[in-house]
């Protein structure tokens, strides 16, 4: 799964997104709603669904590390819900606070998965099982093909926007 790379690119932009943010401005509000759409459709429905419905199920319900990862998924959903509620109220400070908290949570979460959980899983899955999971992931990738294209494009555009703004402000 290479989704972590894309998600980390979005997380890296959160400080830039929240800088000078004012969700009563239509463009800023649109930007936050697009970021929430990325988190919900790509990071959660696509990536976390692969983990929760396919990968984690191979290891049962009793492992503490998996319980902890699932709890962090739930916490992430809570932060995103709070971001949306704050957008509706026009509360910029609350949007920034919850989006920043989401970013911090996911950065730590991805680090734990990349450095501890996934290597441990690799060691404990048979070659045949890895092949089976790979095929199931490929089916999910197909199902979410359009979402993946759209959301990767959103991250690319966001990177370009901030990179362009940086160049302009340094000129």
């Amino acid at each position: 799964m290479d989704e972590h790379t894309v998600i980390k690119r979005l997380l890296a932009l959160i400080p830039r997104v929240t800088e000078d943010l004012n969700v009563t401005r239509p463009d800023d509000r649109k930007l936050i709603l697009e970021a929430v759409d990325f988190i919900r459709s790509y990071a959660d429905r696509f990536h976390h669904a692969k983990e929760e419905e396919i990968l984690f199920r191979e290891f049962g319900d009793d492992l503490e590390i998996l319980k902890s990862m699932l709890e962090e998924h739930r916490m992430g959903r809570g932060y995103v819900k709070s971001v949306l509620e704050a957008v509706e109220k026009g509360d910029t400070a609350s949007v920034s606070e919850h989006l920043t908290a989401y970013g911090r949570l996911l950065q730590g979460h991805i680090k734990k998965e990349d450095e501890i959980l996934y290597p441990w899983m690799d060691r404990n899955l048979s070659v045949a099982k890895v092949g089976e999971l790979f095929a199931r992931f490929a089916k999910t990738d197909e199902q979410f093909h359009d979402t993946v294209i759209t959301q990767k494009d959103f991250v690319r555009r966001l990177e370009e926007k901030f990179s362009h703004e940086e160049v302009t402000s340094n000129a």
């Binding site: 045949a128 890895v130 790979f134």
Partner: protein, 154 residues
């Protein structure tokens, strides 16, 4: 005549301590097919269909004491030598055909630590990259004295 190739350099392990307190008796073969040489096999033979395929450099099975039980068990096999075999473009086509036509589940590649052996891994990676389907690829590097030096999914 000795060449400068590290893969051809003589090494003598006769003084190596060999563990002897292992269970006595015959170790059953885990081979489930014939032939095994990559030039001789058909990539779409029934035993490759949907299989976990093990592509092993010729010398590996001699160096690694637990090759049958820990690596060959449950897999369809092909062997090849990237240093001495000719016509390796046929190998490329066969590996590609495993992935595309036999729709194998996984491809495991086992090579020796000597530099020339990495050619087999590179060949398999090229074939897998060019294939229209993707499969997980694992590679294992074995030392001349039968230790597993590296084992990774690509």
């Amino acid at each position: 005549m000795l060449s400068g190739c590290p893969g051809s350099k003589e090494a003598d392990f006769r003084t190596k301590d060999v563990q002897t307190d292992v269970p006595a008796g015959k170790v059953p073969s885990q081979l489930r097919q014939w032939p095994v040489q990559l030039h001789l096999v058909s990539p779409v033979a029934p035993y490759y269909q949907g299989a976990d395929v093990l592509l092993t450099a010729d010398c590996v099975a001699y160096a690694l004491g637990n090759y049958h039980t820990d690596y060959l068990k449950g897999k369809a096999l092909a062997i090849a030598c990237p240093k001495l075999d000719s016509g390796q473009e046929v190998y490329y086509e066969k590996i590609k055909s495993w992935i595309e036509d036999a729709k194998i589940n996984t491809l495991s590649i086992m090579i020796m630590q000597v530099p020339c052996c990495s050619g087999l891994l590179k060949l398999a990676q090229r074939a897998a990259q060019d294939a229209s389907r993707k499969v997980p690829i694992k590679y294992t590097v074995v030392s001349m004295q039968g230790e597993v030096l590296k084992e990774e999914w690509l």
